[in-house]
């Protein structure tokens, strides 16, 4: 009797962990045999992007109906609001895809990371997004097990809504936001666990940062906008004694006309 040579499951699991970001390689690995497919599955669904070419919310919804155990594998979700979606948002129309998104989001109870992106300049207004989706999104970012949130070009997202997400360890805020509803008490916003922060510098966000405490911050990435004084950075630095990494992107960038320079040098 001959024994089939095989790797231990734990070793295969470790290997697939390192190719989590390579979906084609994972899918190819899953095709090897059923054993591989079973091990690969949790890595294949670890991060899911909806609204892009990879998968629609309707497709994910169907997958979860057929294989409900996959819900436990989905730890990270990226949602892209595309041009088509945003136009329908603006027109007050709802597509099947949006309804699928509204249905599927509350089911993803094992998320640790959630990002919401608008693929259109100057962004998708938060006020135009379906109220049920907004409620589900807020439930997610307030979940004690969700640690990583990115909000990208969702214009007018109220910063006050983040003040109940004190469990966050990583936060990325790009675009313009709303400072409406913020508490006026100085220093009231505390993110005691936040270790990583990525921001652009619209005035409302600078104002919010000025009264926000990040005592455990390790990594800070700042995309400076034209006309923003760097003075506020000194304020953040003085409150971030744990900071080990700082990344600054100049406000003087050439790729986009609306970001063009206010200061220039002639030779």
């Amino acid at each position: 009797m001959s024994l089939k040579p095989s790797f231990p499951v734990e070793l295969l699991d470790e290997i697939f962990y390192f190719i989590r970001d390579d979906a084609p390689a994972l899918r190819a690995s899953a095709d090897v045999n059923q054993n591989f497919a079973d091990i690969v599955e949790k890595h294949l669904y670890h991060h899911v992007t909806l609204g892009g070419p990879e998968m629609t919310a309707a497709q994910l919804s169907k997958i979860l109906v057929d294989s409900s155990h996959i819900i436990t594998y989905i730890k990270s979700l990226g949602i892209y609001l595309s041009r088509t979606n945003s136009l329908s948002f603006l027109q007050g129309l709802r597509t099947e895809e949006e309804y699928a998104l509204i249905r599927v989001l509350p089911r993803l109870l094992h998320l640790t990371a959630l990002s919401l992106h608008a693929n259109i300049e100057p962004g998708v207004p938060w006020s135009d997004i379906h109220s049920n989706f907004k409620l589900s999104f807020l439930d997610c970012i307030r979940s004690p097990t969700l640690f990583d949130v990115s909000i990208n070009c969702v214009t007018g997202f109220p910063l006050s809504l983040l003040e109940e997400s004190l469990q966050l360890k990583s936060l990325s805020l790009i675009g313009s936001f709303s400072s409406g509803g913020l508490s006026k008490k100085q220093g009231v916003v505390m993110f005691p666990h936040l270790q990583s922060l990525t921001i652009e510098t619209p005035p409302e966000l600078v104002e919010w940062l000025d009264r926000t405490n990040f005592s455990q911050l390790r990594s800070l990435v700042i995309w400076m906008l034209k006309g923003t004084s760097a003075d506020f950075i000194a304020g953040i630095l003085s409150n971030s004694k744990s900071l080990t990494y700082l990344e600054l992107h100049s406000p003087h960038r050439g790729e986009s006309t609306y970001r063009r320079v206010s200061i220039f040098f002639r030779y």
Binding site: A230, I233, A234, L237, L243, L248, I263, F264, R266
Partner: protein, 133 residues
């Protein structure tokens, strides 16, 4: 102020644009060039108490969208030399795809012999790399 800050990264660009106008009835063409180097020096000077900070490495990623010349490196070099704790500075140029093919080698040669940058290169503090996008 930031007792544990060890690594600092700058993401900046060299770029230019053209401005057109009329002056004294004559058409006026101005080529405007933007360098981020003064901004970096100013940021370092204003954000930190330089002699006391324990910064170990600085990476400066520069996207190059235009042929540059006559950059004043001295203020940046002087500022960097004030940071006693620094062990490594990387100047990483990323050339825009529209740049001439032979520009890369010419630019690296010019930078590595630049009178002020040489001061940092000779001490082993500064490395310069250039890549094409």
């Amino acid at each position: 102020m930031v007792p544990h800050l060890q690594h600092l990264y700058f993401g900046v660009e060299f770029f230019s644009w053209d401005d057109y106008g009329i002056s004294g009835g004559q058409p006026l063409f101005t080529h405007i060039f933007s360098t981020p180097i003064p901004w970096i020096s100013q940021s370092l000077q204003t954000l930190f108490k330089l002699p006391t900070i324990l910064l170990q490495s600085i990476i400066i990623d520069i996207t190059v969208r235009v042929i540059f010349r006559e950059i004043l490196w001295e203020p940046l070099v002087d500022t960097l030399q004030q940071i006693d704790s620094l062990k490594k500075v990387e100047l990483r140029f990323k050339l825009d795809r529209d740049m001439p093919l032979d520009y890369k080698s010419r630019a690296v040669g010019a930078l590595q012999s630049e009178i002020h940058l040489v001061r940092l290169i000779e001490t082993g503090l500064l490395s310069i790399t250039m890549s094409s996008s």
